[in-house]
Amino acid sequence: MQKQQEKHMSKLKKYSVLGPVATTFTASDTGSWRLERPKVVFEDCIKCGICAQVCPVDIVEIRKDEKECVVFNFDYCKGCGICANECPKKCIMMVPERSEV
């Protein structure tokens, strides 16, 4: 592991680093873990933003002036269901992944 890092770091002549050092800011494909996906009933939504606050992955966006007011980024959603459990209006449902409900 150390050799691998040295190879990587030797391109940068300015810095001399020994040992493993993280040099890239990346993201894993956590969206592929999902078994259930959140689905919002937009008519009942009161746009309180609690789902965006409690989401551990921070991928919920509230768009107050649009009809589809809650937008999820499904590239990273792990499908844990905390948003559906914490919604005060219970207007988020967890539906099985790849179902057309």
């Binding site: 040099t23 990346t26 993201a27 844990c80 914490e86």
Partner: protein, 295 residues
């Protein structure tokens, strides 16, 4: 030098390999958002090191490194000393360790930092066992909880980190919970502004180790506070403040029923546990009220 390959809203990447429903991820995101870019992070091995980097990739836009389990606080104190020597008083030094790295293995270095009055912000995310290595019991595991090293339930009560911190008389110490994030963020801000060591002890529901449905993480954190299994209070410059005083505690059954680490308990055991939790809550409350009145 730092290669950004991913667009994220805050300072933490969206694709972190923490389990679905992990309370730690929520804590890390909120902490980094409050502390901002001018921060150096020390994280010991454990679930928290998912954020500091694995191989060449990291999940935070902040400088930091992974120390050893037993010297997180000592590393942070060293960074603080170096920053002080350079005349930098603004940068926050954050030590972000789990319960094993704090109350078991790292206790001596934490005690040293608290005694020397180094300006370090220490956050202990308490998931109540060594979760990253396969759910071994720690000294922060609650009474009767089953882990792989205590399969029939832990026979003793947990260690109280807050009371250890209060015994050192540090400027700021607080407990927090993920069900009230606004309160947690206020506490992080306060700890950041403290001139001296500050400690935040936050309970972190862990779906893998506590064995419950990931959707109930925040709900269980709330139930822990409402049943008296976790008490929210802060200690600031010798003054105690209880954040949430409860008149009637909820039945402990509501808290332990969804968790399969408590499923070996019989009805009698549950009653005994209820008695223990109530007694413990009363003991701490009495002590806190005594301190509130006298100091």
């Amino acid at each position: 030098m730092y290669d950004i390959q991913h667009e994220s809203k805050g300072l933490v990447s969206h694709g972190v390999n923490a389990c679905a429903g992990c309370g730690l991820e929520l804590i890390a995101r909120n902490t980094m958002e409050v502390l901002g870019e001018n921060t150096i992070v020390v994280i010991p091995p454990g679930c928290g090191s998912l954020f500091s980097g694995y191989g060449a990739g990291a999940a935070m836009k902040l400088p930091g490194f992974q120390g050893n389990l037993e010297n997180t606080a000592a590393c942070a104190a060293g960074i603080r000393a170096a920053l002080n020597a350079k005349g930098d008083k603004e940068t926050t030094v954050l030590a972000f360790a789990g319960d094993g790295g704090t109350v078991d293995i790292g206790l001596q270095s934490l005690s040293g930092v608290m005694e020397r009055r180094d300006k370090v912000l220490y956050i202990c995310y308490d998931n109540e066992a060594y979760m990253n290595t396969g759910i071994q019991g720690s000294s922060s595991t609650p009474y009767q909880a089953s882990t792989t090293t205590t399969p029939t339930g832990k026979p003793t009560e947990r260690k109280s980190l807050m009371e250890i911190a209060i015994a050192h008389d540090i400027p700021y110490a607080a407990t927090a919970s993920i069900h009230n994030l606004r309160d947690f963020r206020r506490k992080v801000q306060k700890a950041k502004d403290t001139n001296g060591p500050s400690l935040i002890h936050i309970q972190t529901p862990c779906p893998t180790g506590w064995r419950y449905d990931p959707a109930r993480s925040v709900e269980l954190a709330r139930l822990a506070v409402q049943t008296g299994a976790w008490i929210l209070y802060e200690y600031e410059n010798g003054k105690i403040k209880v954040n949430m005083k409860l008149k009637n505690l909820k039945s402990i059954e509501e808290y332990i029923k969804p968790q399969r680490r408590f499923r070996h308990l019989s009805q009698e055991d549950i009653e005994e546990l209820q008695e223990t939790v109530k007694k413990n809550y009363q003991r701490i409350m009495d002590r806190l009220e005594y301190m509130e009145g006298t100091v």
